[in-house]
């Protein structure tokens, strides 16, 4: 079973700051998905990355997939309180099930 480690576990920053969160695995991802989960809700898909070295942007969010497809990062520029939530990476491996990471809980304050 693939294990996904996310860091940091918790992050509290002020509005306007930049941040990066990481997702690492000991084995290769076939594809990686990033989700955001808010309290009382299910995970919501942000992006899927497939190709090593791939970079995808979603407004102020930049997602990068490592060249070896064993790690990924999510960078948020000029964080806003609306970015607050639990950020999860998830891998599908060779099957359809998602294996989730441990999550990074982000708090953005005014």
């Amino acid at each position: 079973t693939q294990l996904l480690e996310q860091s940091p576990q918790f992050l509290s920053i002020q509005e306007g700051e930049n941040l990066t969160v990481y997702c690492n695995s000991s084995s290769v991802f076939s594809s990686l998905q990033w989700y955001r989960q808010e309290p009382g809700e299910g995970p919501v898909l942000l992006v899927t990355v497939v190709t090593g070295g791939e970079v995808k942007k979603l407004k102020r969010l930049t997602f990068q997939f490592g060249d070896a497809r064993k790690d990924s990062s999510l960078h948020i520029t000029a964080a806003q309180p609306g970015d607050t939530g639990l950020y999860l990476c998830a891998s599908t491996g060779t099957a359809s099930k998602l294996t989730f990471g441990t999550g990074t809980r982000l708090q953005v304050t005014l």
Binding site: S30, S31, Q33, Y35, G40, E41, G42, P43, V44, L45, T48, V50, L88, A90, S91, T92, G93, T94, A95, S96, K97, L98, T99, F100, G101, T102, G103
Partner: protein
């Protein structure tokens, strides 16, 4: 935008009782999933379902658990004799296809509390 809906949002049950959690997946999706999230822990895969049969299940999904698609719209998870450790958020998800790049769409979950 179509969404996955789950009912009830919160279920409180005595230990040993049976519970059925209900999900309505997105209508043109063919693959269905259940996940659970124990408070403070990560989201864990339970089972995937396609073409009216289980495709894959985790070691958590033991004989106490079963899934069913009783009609063309609902997808249910039954826990036959609940235990305290079954208390968790249960999420249903669906996807159009099986390949890893097909996004899974999640419902807002059912919070199951076992007393």
């Amino acid at each position: 935008e179509p969404e996955v809906t789950q009912t009830p949002s919160h279920q409180v049950t005595q230990m040993g009782q049976e519970v059925i959690l209900r999900c309505v997946p997105i209508s043109n999706h063919l693959y269905f999933y259940w996940y659970r999230q124990i408070l403070g822990q990560k989201v864990e895969f339970l089972v995937s379902f396609y073409n009216n049969e289980i495709s894959e299940k985790s070691e958590i999904f033991d004989d106490q658990f079963s899934v069913e698609r009783p009609d063309g719209s609902n997808f249910t998870l039954k826990i036959r004799s609940t235990k305290l450790e079954d208390s968790a958020m249960y999420f249903c998800a669906s996807s159009e296809g099986r390949q890893g790049t097909q996004p899974q769409h999640f419902g807002d979950g059912t919070r199951l509390s076992i007393l």
